[in-house]
Symmetry: C2
Subunit: 355 residues, 2 copies
DNA sequence: TTTCAGGATGTAAACGCTTACATGTCATAA
DNA sequence: TTATGACATGTAAGCGTTTACATCCTGAAA
């Protein structure tokens, strides 16, 4: 491995000069610069980041922890959500020449802190890719490095949070069902109890129904955000309401809606004639389901960008007060809600007014 | 930031002892160990990886570069392929407590070497997430750190390659079309010219057709592996063959097959009645298209695991001779090939015999 | 010719860890 | 009692950078 010393020796200068050429802030005589650059080129020298980090006290690496949910080997859709997020983070980080360390965190496999601790020693800050991350681990992590939460609870006080306006998005889609399609008896296929985005969506659903007399929630069941849990949810609904189905099922995300569609399809039901179904997130496969899924778009990519930007701000200035950044959503109307086949409308959702 | 010295001071021992407790190889008196552990706990100490790396000469981080293809903002499916791959890599790496640094590499945005060079300074080795990576950059990268190619060309001599048996998979699916569905006039929606996996599939297609007289390739067009390029390909086919469509279109991957299905759908064609369509990769959304896609499954997750394992072997022993590891595929029959709706068969594909 | 400012370059400490080697301690054997 | 080992622990060098500070050089001004 070639080091700064090798370059310095070959160019006949000191390591300080090489370093100066590398970073180009201090003045170096043109002829020297060229000589050094030639040596660098010739040796194919690349600075060792470990030594740089140690010296500068900064690694220029941030970590992202993606929550890994159990999934059938052949149906892993975890990243369909995280995909855009990662791209967003990367598109911001690349402009700064920092790097991204990715960790999949699985509650079952890694209940303890050690793996997270080890990762925290390799980065300057950590992004939590989703809201439902155990507080106990979060606190320990945050004791070590700055942390920002993506899709965290909007009422978080201790950490930076960047999230979509789940409340407004869910309110919009439920309002659409109730007012455009006259849904009266709604069922909620909810997310995990501890997921903050799911909670926001649930609250929006309840509040909208409260304002529309005649429409009500006839039941709820929790799923894990996975396709499988959507299927199970569908079977539970079929078992409980056969012959007396809800008008519409509101799913906490698209994966579960897809699972639901499958379960209903197997049971010979047709959507939206027998029952309407809507999702949340606007993941790609939702366009190809039969019928195509009505859902709410969250700007995942922008979420990633903003979260990354905020984390890096905080790394530079740890004194910053934690803040909430809430991004607007869009209602994406296709036909699983009852709109005619071929419908494809995107409409911006007004941000919730926080009192 | 708490350091080893702080811990040592609090526990009343030397840094060497703390280090020994941390790594637990040398013997330390039980009472000392406990005292040190208590100090570590109390201070929330986590070793700084930069210092460790510098000292040990190893970072315990590997990089993966994922090729980023241009994609419509709302239709990014890059990671549907990479998703499983990443999980595979991570599932292996986590057992060793190493970490994964992810870089999206976009030929257009980053034509030069600097960003890759910078990343190479942060890792012990790199995985190239796909075969079509410019040789010129590859060589420079490999001069710095060990490199292993995922889905690289099977005839590569200079690098480790871990890939699926694309030839055999493609041969199987084409054989299915020709022998089971009597396809005579095939069209090939090929991948980018420089993608080694696409080349293998193309060669298999040609060789199979050579052995089946009566069936032939009536045309080819290249796409970029994206959904959009699949749509464009579809439109080109429609323009060229309207009224005289091919019996079947063999697509170099599922994304393009999905795009093709869309273009055909818009044109009022029905698949597989008017024309059969098959893909490659078995990505998740392929189950939900109409009709569900017949394709070839590649063990992406295993690919990731094996590539990671091999890279780490090479990092430990740089003297190892480069090797090829080829993983078997499976034929996944659904109904876009002409098999009856509801068909869902997976059958192992025999590895190609390399002479 | 000498002096001096300023630019160019060199020197060496520091970053936080690991580890080879040195030292210290204690029980046992002679 | 002293020598001997085995085990426990400490000392300090070294990993490859960055950077504050010291030094050297050059040309212009006096």
């Amino acid at each position: 491995m070639t080091t700064l010393y090798d370059v310095a020796r070959l160019a006949g200068v000191s390591t300080a000069t090489v370093s100066r050429v590398l970073h180009g802030q201090d003045r170096v005589r043109e002829s020297t610069r060229i000589r050094v650059q030639k040596a660098i080129e010739e040796l194919g020298y690349v600075p060792d980041n470990a030594a740089q980090s140690l010296s500068r006290g900064r690694k220029e690496v941030i970590g992202i922890v993606c929550i890994e949910r159990p999934a059938d080997h052949h149906e892993n859709m975890n990243l369909t959500y995280t995909d855009e997020l990662l791209h967003g983070v990367e598109s911001h980080i690349r402009t700064l020449d920092w790097s991204l360390l990715i960790t999949f965190w699985n509650e079952v496999i890694d209940p303890g802190f050690p793996r997270l601790a080890a990762m925290s020693g390799k980065v300057d800050g950590v992004l939590i890719g989703e809201g439902s991350f155990p507080a106990r681990l979060l606190d320990r992590l945050a004791a070590r490095v700055p942390v920002t939460l993506i899709a965290g609870p909007p009422d978080e006080r201790a950490f930076d949070v960047v999230t979509a306006d789940n409340w407004a998005g869910a309110a919009a889609i439920v309002t659409h069902l109730v007012t455009e399609h006259g849904s009266r008896r709604l069922f909620h296929l909810d997310g995990p109890p501890n997921a903050p985005d799911a909670s926001e969506r649930r609250r929006a659903l309840e509040e909208v129904l409260k304002e529309h007399h005649g429409s009500r929630l006839i039941g709820t069941t929790h799923g894990s955000f996975s396709v499988e849990s959507g299927e199970e949810g569908g079977e539970r609904i079929l078992a409980a309401y056969r012959g007396d189905l809800p008008d519409a099922v509101v799913c906490a995300n698209d994966q579960m809606a897809i699972g639901l569609l499958r379960a209903f399809g197997r049971a010979g039901l047709s959507v939206p004639e027998d029952v309407a179904v809507v999702g949340f997130d606007d993941i790609f496969p939702g366009r190809f389901t039969d019928p195509p899924l009505t859902t709410v778009y969250q700007p995942m990519r922008t979420l990633g960008e903003r979260a990354c930007a905020r984390l890096i701000e905080r790394i530079s200035d740890p004194g910053l007060a934690p803040a909430l950044e809430m991004l607007p959503t869009e209602l994406v109307i296709r036909s699983s809600c009852g709109c005619p086949p071929g419908t494809s409308i995107r409409q911006p959702v007004r941000q919730r007014v926080m009192e």
